[in-house]
Amino acid sequence: MTLQFHDETFRDDYTFHNSPEGIRRFPFPFDQDSYMYSVNLEPHAGGRAGSPFEKRFDVDEHYVAEMRDREITLRDDPLRCQSLPHMELAGWDFLELVMVSKSEDYPDLFELHRDGDRWHWINRPLGIEQRFTFLDATTLPCGPLEYITRQTQGDHALLDQREGNLWMDAGMITSQADWSLDFDIGMNFFEWHAPVPKANEMGVFQRALKFLLNLQQGAPTRRLNWTMTVNPRLDTSPENYHKWGPEKRTITPATVGSKQYLRVELQTLWRLPRSNAIAFPIRCYLCSLEDIVTVPKWGRRLHRVLRDLPDELAEYKGFAVNRPVIVDYLEQFDDGAETSPGIFPD
């Protein structure tokens, strides 16, 4: 399959859309009819052909448009990308991981030629060709983390590991679900997760951290997280809440199907070799409710999950105000039939 990159926007006129194949491959996050936090980690070792789990770093039809949107966000607010000085080595590790993975997984789109430390990178979709010296930041237009994440879909956090904890000491965060790198930078695993309801009491974070501290190279792991977003907006940051918060009020029974999006994050975790840091790409997928319900299993299940979700979670995820309208809309697609196990369409 050759990818057709969309010319589309994630702000203002919101021309973002999924193709029919884009809808079918959407990473629907619910494998049963109810949802609660858990340590939902599984090996990131491939997955169903064509699905977003197949490749190490999924590249899809939104790639070029997402990178353009990131550029706009960064132009207005350069602090969306930060790296504390000791994290430069981790930035190089991550650049290597992405370049090697993409050139192997998508040889038509990306090429990497290495002659010792002299590297030559070609990114066809974005029209980039770069010769540089690995581990020499003066040979790139910007730091290694910024360089590679301007060319990689999803937000990316780099975590330093020390004192039995993980520390958010670098990142490129422009498509976040209402949290801020500038606020979280330098925090540890428990500090940055503090706003999350229930999960801490359930022991989720303690168990997840223990697992991550032992994460091995070559054995990446993944999990899905989800929330709800009004309009296909990537930059739902606290910094710009004034731009997107009021849009929640535009949800009515007439608009909910087209304007309310299920937002899914495919989060992967990678141990990096030289720095011993962990890379945490947070890849965001958006799908409108009216597109979701074209898959009958998903329509039925999403209705049940959102109807029965504990209030604290709907509140935390920021859609409590619109939950009644959303659930009413979805109810018409739920005939009460049983749903099959797993996340994929029948």
Partner: protein, 315 residues
Amino acid sequence: MSAQMLRVTAREALSPLVTRFRFEHPEGAALPLFSGGAHVVVEMPDGDVLRRNAYSLISDPLDGSGYEIAVRREDGGRGGSVFLHRQVVVGDLLRISAPLNLFALDLRAKKHVMIAGGIGITPFVAQLKQLARLQMPFELHYAARSRAEAAGLALLPDLPQIHVHISDEGNRMDLGAVLGGQPLGTHVYTCGPEGLIDAVAETAARLGWPRGALHSEVFMAPPPGTPFTVTLARSGRTVTVGAHQSLLEALEAAQVPVDWSCRGGACGRCETGVSACHGQLEHHDHWLSDDEKSSQTKIMPCVSRFRGDTLILDL
């Protein structure tokens, strides 16, 4: 735990008790790079016992052509090091895990001071190579009883920042002098016997060092003890643990799956619930908190043992 079969391509005696082994990929493929302080777990099929020991990597972290370890023969130990010394020859294939680092350099440091006692020199050998590449200031102090026992001498470069303290020669390490007068932002790393780690911690505390600037390799081999028996809550089975066997090894030999990573009481992976305990748990790990230890409701089977009437595990 991801692992691969690697070929022994060299072995060399560094001292009467310490031997260096080199492993390479049988087809010459590059091995994953790592960071200084990382260890691998070596699997040793010794008769009908499968031994697994963790060893620090001493080769250059940025050289994927092979991995090297230095192994001290522990004649009173559980046999893994003796197996490597007596039975493993060049050409053998052994399963080696991917590197994992629980003793990494803190790259925020303005300067790195490393203190090694005896075989505790091994993680620093790789860290020195990493620091040289990163061009970061460092100082290493290596203490050994005698020159003959100081296997690390063969592994250390000849640099003015490296100080060797041989106690037989009356040149004992003076921790106050080592830690005093270091520039602000220095981090100190200690690897060696527990007494050395404690002494560094005490001296540093006395000199007002911030706790976050102290690092130590708490890694250790499972200590032997008296044999004991455990009962598994789910199946009702009993498993006997031999004097030179760890509880983890006994469970593995009985085909009871338990998650693990470091096998040295440091990583937390093997944590197991205790549903009943009539007797005394002998905690040897550095993972559980003091409260958890005294509550006798959790055990780390890779290093900890039991003495008493009944111990029932949530397995």
